[in-house]
């Protein structure tokens, strides 16, 4: 995790591992988790930027299996937010398909 200088935000790159991609259930889990943090959190994919607290924004990324996504967070609990959200990606959204 590297501070980028831009608004002092942190970022980490994760991969969508589950078969059906970032569909409704995983997107819901990410949004739910993101909402529990104060930090501003965004999922970035190429030139698209989604508010991690919005399931609709995440779904609109239409990220299939294998996509690399950059999670950016800024704010007091940014570090913890990044750790927990990237863990969710690593764990395939707690066993989702």
């Amino acid at each position: 995790m590297e501070p980028t200088g831009e608004n002092n935000s942190l970022e980490v790159i994760v991969c969508v591992k589950n078969e059906l991609g970032l569909h409704a259930r995983p997107a819901g889990k990410v949004a739910q988790l993101a909402q529990s943090f104060q930090a501003d959190i965004a999922l970035c994919l190429a030139d698209q930027r989604a508010d991690a607290k919005s399931i609709l924004d995440i779904l609109a990324l239409a990220a299939p299996q294998g996509t690399e996504i950059c999670i950016k967070a800024s704010g007091t609990d940014a570090c913890e937010a990044l750790e927990q959200i990237s863990q969710l990606f690593h764990d395939k959204f707690e066993g989702d398909t």
Binding site: K17, G21, A62, G66
Partner: protein
């Protein structure tokens, strides 16, 4: 005669007769598109927030009351709950109220439209369809704003439930034991209503045109969820016909489900493998529930499509291992990448072939892009230690291609040996027979492989020179054309002569008219859509080989396809009236895709 017959998409098979009851009807609602004085912005925003809170609370209540039979639908309510609280929807509507000084209803409508536009640009059809969920949630908030009364309790007795759309949360509010069937105006094949109805095992039709304008509460209706028809105010004659048909179908359903786990064995003891054609590991549940003995054709293309990035070996290894482990000791035949014609990867899209169906597809693509082929073979070989895995090459046209493919397979094996990675050294290797050239040299090919799988869809197209999706020539798609019958028989005979097995994995194998003929050829197995398995197994269990051989002999003596069709149809229809009356409707509910 019935006053009106409505048409829709059948999503859960069955028939029901009863009185209609509407739980929500999307009447032409006037959404107040009005501006408001600035001092009312706060009041209007609060109205919006209250409506959202009311809907959120309803979803929470429904979530807490999910009955056991609808457990898997809890996740859908969760996602509706998330959408209901989503800043993209709620905050943007609130912002619309503040910026434009408009009513909460109008602001909400604008936000839904904006989201709709963003979703309509998405390529992935599954994600694009989730817009339906946004509409469902948006509609609920709108109802709360406008003050549409909540669905009253069902009147006494069982009812045929009608709705504009039906969500799992709606369903939970209802007393499910009193619902005979569903019909909704909205929805398609992948809608939640279909999933819901199938888990409850009640008939359902979705996407019914004019449903809301044509049916009133208390109307007597017949729901024919085999054909997707609704008869409103049916005649005595129709009622009598459908009462009989309903019982016949229920008996048939019970019988096929009860017997689907029994072996596919004829009355005189000839047994064949009945396996499934699938493309996702999620379909395994359906394969097992329907009595499939394994997967005769796993289409590996899915992992490569709609992906921004090519899958890597580890992903494929995990995918194939899951299949192998879950099916063991049952077999799984992994077909190597079969792209081309209507299924293209980025590499092929750049080729711009004039005739893709005759171009770089199937094994030709793999031999050209060997890096992809080798990666896939590595994953398949590594997965082979986790179950009963076989490898199959598609579109083999001659011996040279087969030898090249096997050479690469052997080289991948040596690579794995050098790396100390485990695999089954005796993994069976087979080929698809789907080109007329492969048919003609089936005897030679049989000496170099462990099994054949006859892909009849492509074989028919290439043999008769027709594209069956071309409406001008699709009438020529004739599975019982003498050339096709003879080709299949020739391939099966050639396989048996060399001591290998031959199965059939095209649509012919799930056609009740064709299966007895294939059996007459002593086919070793068939691989079909999972939902077709119970019905086909039942036909196999009722027939004997003598009858099949005699039928084949009869077919082989005729020179014209029309004569063959007439003979076969007459005979099979007489022999299996029940199967032909219900089975076709059951399998048509899901598209049977190309093998």
């Amino acid at each position: 005669m019935a006053r009106t017959i409505l048409r829709g998409i059948p999503v859960s098979a069955g028939i029901s007769i009863g009185k209609a009851y509407f739980v929500n009807r999307q009447k032409e609602r006037r959404i107040p598109r009005e501006t408001i004085p600035h001092h009312l912005v706060t009041v209007e925003t609060q109205r919006l927030r209250n409506a959202v809170e009311e809907v959120r609370q309803n979803f929470m209540d429904a979530r807490a009351r999910v009955p056991e039979e609808l457990k898997e639908h809890g996740a859908i309510i969760d996602s509706h709950l998330m959408i209901c609280q989503d800043p993209k929807l709620v905050d943007s509507a609130a912002k619309n109220i503040a910026d434009r000084a408009i009513t909460a209803e109008w602001a909400l409508e604008r936000s839904i439209d904006t989201i709709g536009k963003a979703f309509s640009a998405i390529d992935d059809p599954y994600i694009r369809d989730r817009m339906q969920d946004v509409r469902v949630v948006g509609d609920k908030i709108m109802q709360a704003l406008i003050g549409v009364p909540k669905p009253a309790d069902l009147p006494s007795g069982r009812r045929v439930l009608m709705a504009h759309d039906l969500t799992p949360a709606d369903a939970i509010e209802l007393e499910l034991s009193r619902i005979m069937s569903f019909a909704t105006a909205e929805g398609g094949k992948t809608s939640h209503t279909g999933i819901l109805a199938r888990s409850l095992q009640i008939p359902a039709i979705v996407g019914v045109e004019d449903l809301e304008d044509s049916i009133r509460d208390g109307d007597l209706v017949i729901i024919d969820a085999l054909k997707g028809l609704i008869f409103i105010d049916p005649s005595e004659e129709e009622l009598a016909h459908y009462s009989d048909r309903k019982y016949q179908f229920e008996d048939y359903q019970k019988a096929i489900v009860k017997q689907c786990h029994l072996p596919a064995e004829t009355v005189d003891g000839y047994r064949l493998d009945v396996c499934a054609n699938i493309e996702l590991a999620e379909e395994l549940v359906q394969v097992k529930d329907n009595g499939g003995q394994g997967v005769g054709l796993y289409r590996t293309e899915y992992a490569f499509f709609n992906k921004k990035k090519m899958p890597d070996e580890e992903m494929l290894y995990e995918e194939y291992t899951t299949l192998a482990e879950q099916l063991a000791p049952g077999k799984v035949i992994l077909r190597t990448l079969d792209v081309g014609a209507d299924k293209l990867l980025d590499e092929q899209a750049m080729l711009e072939e004039a005739n893709p169906a005759l171009g770089l597809r199937g094994i030709r693509f793999c031999l050209r892009y060997q890096n992809i082929f080798r990666m896939q073979l590595r994953a398949m070989l590594r997965a082979s230690v986790h179950g009963n895995v076989s490898i199959m090459f598609p579109m083999i046209s001659g011996l040279k291609e087969l030898r090249q493919a096997r050479f690469i397979l052997n080289s991948v094996k040596s690579e794995l040996d050098a790396e100390g990675l485990a695999y089954n050294p005796n993994i069976p290797v087979g080929i698809m027979i789907e080109l007329p050239s492969a048919v003609m040299i089936a005897d030679t090919l049989a000496r170099e492989v462990d099994f054949f799988s006859i892909g009849t869809n492509d074989l028919i197209q290439y043999s008769l020179g027709i594209d069956r999706t071309n409406k001008h020539v699709s009438y020529l798609y004739q599975p019982l054309h003498p050339a096709i019958v003879r080709s299949i028989k020739y391939v099966i005979d050639a396989a048996h002569k060399e001591g290998i097995e031959a199965s059939v994995c095209g649509e012919v194998a799930s056609d009740p008219y064709c299966v007895p003929i294939l059996m007459g050829m002593r086919v070793d197995g068939i691989s079909i859509a999972p939902q077709a398995i119970p019905g086909i197994k039942r036909i196999i269990r009722q027939i004997d080989m003598e009858e099949c051989i005699e039928l084949l002999g009869d077919v082989l003596t005729h020179a014209t396809v029309s004569r063959i069709n007439t003979k076969v149809r007459k005979r099979i229809f007489k022999r299996f009236p029940e199967e032909l009356s219900f089975f076709a409707s059951l399998i048509e509910q899901d598209d049977i895709t190309e093998p």
